[in-house]
């Protein structure tokens, strides 16, 4: 039996172009420089994992890509549309799916309604079409029997899989994952990673903030190490993990391995 690997897919043109972005947070205690002159190109079909210590700006970078967070200088071009001053930000966001650390499912809606809502409201799909799509995605993430329960009745892993299905329902070109497994019990991490890996091998462009070494090695094409708001080092996951070049990377890896 041959399961698909990352070798089977094709890497295409640049879809996310990040050019010299800066981001500062103004807090009562002073200014925090979250991103300093970050530049990055991500190609269609590429899976990029971002690692780094807490506060290194990796989540901020991710959230800048669909402008949940604004940036001060530089520009990000997603699918040919510059984000800086983009009027139709909601159209860009619909093309960029996002999965959060804390799932953020809508607790007042059932699993099915969670997946259908944005399809109906944003994509203006008919009720039947969106329901069909939702059921198909629930099948893909492996919980078609939970369609009519509320999110609070699901386990963490199941909730995160619903969240992935909800993002996929919009047919996004890019998927962003913000530490999707760090709020999960260890026994549930794998069920989520399996879904993500299947997605990666299917050719989805993905940016994943995660410290799951196994996932990074198996599914990602490139791993980026960030610290203090800067990209310190980037390489293929095997090279980065086995043969880090930078002292900061070595120190970080020695702590998490």
């Amino acid at each position: 039996m041959t399961s698909p690997t990352k070798k089977d897919k094709q890497i295409g043109d640049v879809i996310i172009q990040i050019r010299n972005i800066h981001k500062q947070f103004r807090t009562p205690r002073g200014v925090v420089h979250a991103l300093r002159d970050v530049s990055l190109d991500i190609r269609t079909g590429e899976v990029v994992t971002v690692i780094g210590p807490s506060g290194s700006g990796k989540s901020t970078l991710l959230r800048c890509i669909n402008r949940l967070e604004t940036f001060d200088r530089g520009d990000i071009v997603v699918d040919g549309i510059p984000l800086h001053g983009a009027k139709n930000i909601n159209r860009i966001r619909a093309e960029v799916g996002m999965v959060f650390q804390s799932f953020n499912l809508f607790p007042h809606l059932t699993v099915l309604e969670n997946i259908m809502l944005a399809q109906r409201v944003v994509r203006k799909r008919a009720n039947t079409a969106s329901k069909e799509k939702a059921m198909e995605l629930l099948g893909r993430v492996g919980i078609p029997d939970k369609a009519d329960v509320h999110p609070s009745q699901l386990s963490g892993g199941q909730q995160q899989r619903v969240a992935i299905a909800r993002a996929l329902a919009m047919d996004p070109k890019i998927m962003l994952f913000d530490e999707p497994t760090s709020a999960l019990d260890p026994e549930m991490i794998n069920e989520v990673l399996d879904v993500m890996m299947a997605l990666a091998f299917g050719g989805m462009t993905m940016v994943v903030v995660s410290h799951e070494m196994g996932f990074a090695r198996a599914a990602s094409d490139r791993t980026i190490f960030m610290d203090s708001g800067m990209i310190v080092e980037q390489n293929t996951p095997d090279n980065l993990f086995d043969n880090p070049q930078h002292d900061r990377t070595k120190l970080f890896l020695s702590k998490i391995l």
Binding site: N66, L68, N90, R91, R93, A94, E95, V96, G97, M98, F100, S102, N104, L105, F106, P107, H108, L117, A118, V121, V122, V149, H150, S152, Q153, A163, R166, A167, M170
Partner: protein, 677 residues
């Protein structure tokens, strides 16, 4: 090996055996779910229900219905018909002084002739009457007609004095209003009056009818103010003043001379106007498509002490057709009453009337000389000009009171005069019909009236709906990132929360509402269209103009501030992640509010909203200060009328408790249903 695998298999879990619950268990379970105060509530409702059935007023209604099997409960209500009635616009008047020194204002249409001449004293005139020279006005006198010639009018003569025509009210360039005598007016024309920018720096020019008039040493100009219209009913000569915007149409016409007018009388050009006249009554059965018959009742209660009754008999009460040509005779009791006696010090006397300072009074009371049957003076033949004063005792004429006796006891009788009339209205003339209550409102008769509990519920429901709208809008503004919206709503919340609700109610009733009534700042002219609409609703609900709209808006504005804070807290209680998730899916701000944030926020705020609703139901009693007949006001009226404070306020309290406890039950049920799994 085999042993160990066997030991690892857990023993089968015995299945839970579910027995169907027994009936006593079920009943016990249901009884436990009902809170003890709900039991109390049902007992109270039961008590109040029994009390209502025992109520005299309800019994009257039931008796009344039992006597008339042919009627249905529709006839518990009177209907207010507004009928297009053609009336005479009384524009010009003449001020006329009679020989007895009394002045009357006579509409120009009643004037038969005006010419220079002399009025001579009649033969029976009191001493000291002098013939007078001047412009002699001969006019139709309706007032004296009833007494002296029942089937027509008499003509009275008098000297013209003072102003001819009505005073004209004008607004000057500096905004000050003044009145101008019509003979001072030089010209009138349509135009714009430039304002006096030196006197009033930020004034606006006025446009309208410019009146140029004489003032000592100068000519001045002002804009004519549309005044209330004085109208005279054609059938009975009854005059009233109406607001100019009530006039539906105008028609120019002529008023023919009366049959006994002098030969040189010429028909007078007059203006007829049509206005919606209110006719209140019960609709009678058997009307056809074109006409409707209405029985109008205008009852008046008269109390007569036993000592003054001369005679009482049952008979046909003939009504005074000269006063009301549409009235009909009816069976009733006719009571002859001896005239009352008054005594006091004579202050002034003229040919037609006495002014007497009655014992114990500071001011003089007027008595018409013709109503007096007998007078005794002390000392004899004294006059009002005597230095020592003049004690006088007068006995009024005997009179008759006719009607139905409603109370007869040792002290006297109480008679309800019932000039019952049947009026036939053409359906095409009916301008509007409004249902109105028939029975007086009793405290515990919520069916019979638009007051009491009914009004409390109506006011609370409408005010709370409005407050919900205001609160939701202001709550959204409070979490808005737009600084204008944020500061606007914060200002509103802080302002309104700092002012007592009672003050807000009074403010809306006596500050905002009068301002709206005079949209252009001139009393009695154009009203704000919103004000007109609200007044129409008030008339629909209560049958007359009142402070209902002001009360509802005041309560809503007062509670809107609290609800805004409740909604703000509810919206902020939804985690940021929810917004981010919704926005990351491509929803706009409003879509995420509508589909994700608000549905969750509403669930959080339902308990405080329910509390606020109950609080508003209780606070609606504050509107009693605006004289609205809601529950508390009805209780107060009942208490002051009967001096039975204990049952009155007990009933008020019980009604409030019944309403608030039922609401509490409803709020609990809603909360339980809306809870997320």
């Amino acid at each position: 090996m085999g042993q160990s695998t066997k030991a690892n298999v857990p023993p089968p879990v015995p299945e839970l055996i579910q027995e169907p619950p027994t009936v006593p268990d079920l009943l016990l379970g249901m009884a436990r779910r009902v809170p003890w105060w709900a039991v109390l509530l049902f007992l109270l409702i039961f008590w109040v229900g029994i009390d209502m059935l025992n109520d005299q007023n309800d019994r009257d209604i039931l008796d009344w219905l039992a006597d008339r099997p042919e009627v249905n409960t529709d006839e518990l209500y009177d209907v207010v018909y507004e009928v297009k009635t053609e009336v005479l616009l009384v524009s010009e008047t003449v001020r006329v002084r009679g020989l007895d020194d009394t002045s009357v204002t006579v509409p120009i249409q009643q004037v038969v002739s005006q010419e220079d001449g002399v009025i001579n004293c009649p033969e029976d005139a009191p001493e000291g009457c002098l013939s007078q020279r001047g412009v002699v006005v001969t006019y139709q006198d309706f007032e004296n007609a009833n007494r002296e010639s029942p089937n027509g009018t008499v003509e009275t003569k008098g000297l013209r004095t003072g102003v001819v025509g009505p005073l004209v009210r004008v607004t000057l360039a500096d905004g000050v209003q003044t009145v101008v005598a019509p003979n001072d007016i030089l010209s009138e024309e349509e135009g714009v009056l430039a304002c006096d920018a030196i006197a009033v720096p930020d004034c606006a020019s006025l446009s309208g009818q410019i009146v140029t008039f004489n003032r000592p040493y100068s000519l001045r100009q002002g804009i004519r103010v549309r005044a209330d219209a004085r109208i005279r009913h054609l059938e009975d000569g009854y005059e009233i003043t109406i607001r100019p915007n009530r006039i539906l149409s105008r028609r120019e016409g002529t008023l023919e001379c009366s049959p006994n007018a002098t030969p040189d009388c010429v028909p007078t050009p007059v203006t007829y106007v049509v206005y919606p006249e209110k006719i209140i009554g019960t609709e009678l059965r058997g009307d056809d498509d074109k006409e409707v018959q209405v029985r109008t009742v205008e009852q008046q209660t008269v109390q007569i002490s036993r000592s003054r009754i001369i005679n009482m008999e049952v008979g046909t009460v003939t009504c005074d057709r000269s006063e009301d040509p549409r009235c009909q005779d009816y069976e009733g009791t006719i009571v002859s009453v001896s005239g009352e006696t008054f005594s006091g010090r004579l202050s002034t006397e003229s040919a037609s009337q006495y002014d007497i300072i009655l014992e114990g009074d500071a001011e003089a009371t007027e008595f018409e000389r013709r109503d007096i049957q007998e007078e005794i003076r002390n000392p004899d033949d004294c006059t009002s000009t005597d230095a020592d004063g003049c004690e006088i005792t007068i006995t009024m004429n005997d009179s008759t009171v006719a009607g139905r006796i409603i109370a007869d006891n040792d002290s006297g009788v109480t008679i309800e005069t019932v000039p019952e009339k049947i009026v036939t209205l053409r359906k095409s003339d009916i301008y509007s019909t409004t249902a109105r209550t028939y029975k007086t409102c009793a405290l515990n008769n919520p069916r019979g009236c638009n007051a009491g509990i009914w009004l409390t519920i109506i006011v609370t429901l409408s005010a709370f709906s409005l407050a919900l709208l205001i609160g939701l809008l202001m709550g959204l503004f409070r979490v808005s990132s737009n600084p204008i919206f944020y500061h606007l709503s914060t200002f509103y919340v802080e302002l309104v929360r700092g002012v007592p609700l009672l003050v807000i109610l009074l403010y809306f009733a006596f500050v905002v509402s009068p301002q709206m009534r005079d949209a252009d700042g001139i009393i009695g002219d154009i009203t704000h269209p919103i004000y007109d609409t609200l007044t129409k609703i008030e008339v629909q609900v209560l049958g007359n103009e009142s402070f209902l709209a002001e009360a509802v808006i005041g309560l809503a504005v007062g509670y809107g501030a609290f609800l805004a804070e409740v909604f703000r807290a509810g919206i902020q209680s939804v985690s940021r992640g929810q917004t981010e998730a919704a926005r990351s899916l491509g929803m706009s701000y409003f879509q995420s509010m509508r589909h994700v944030i608000l549905p969750q926020a509403i669930r959080t705020v339902l308990p405080p909203l329910g509390n606020d609703f109950i609080a508003m139901l209780k606070d609606s009693s504050l509107i009693a200060i605006l004289a609205l007949p809601e529950l508390l006001q009805q209780g107060r009226l009942y208490s002051t009328r009967t001096f039975q404070a204990i049952p009155a306020y007990n009933a008020v309290a019980i009604f409030y408790i019944v309403m608030t406890l039922s609401l509490s039950l409803m709020v609990r049920a809603v909360e339980r249903r809306s809870r997320l799994p």
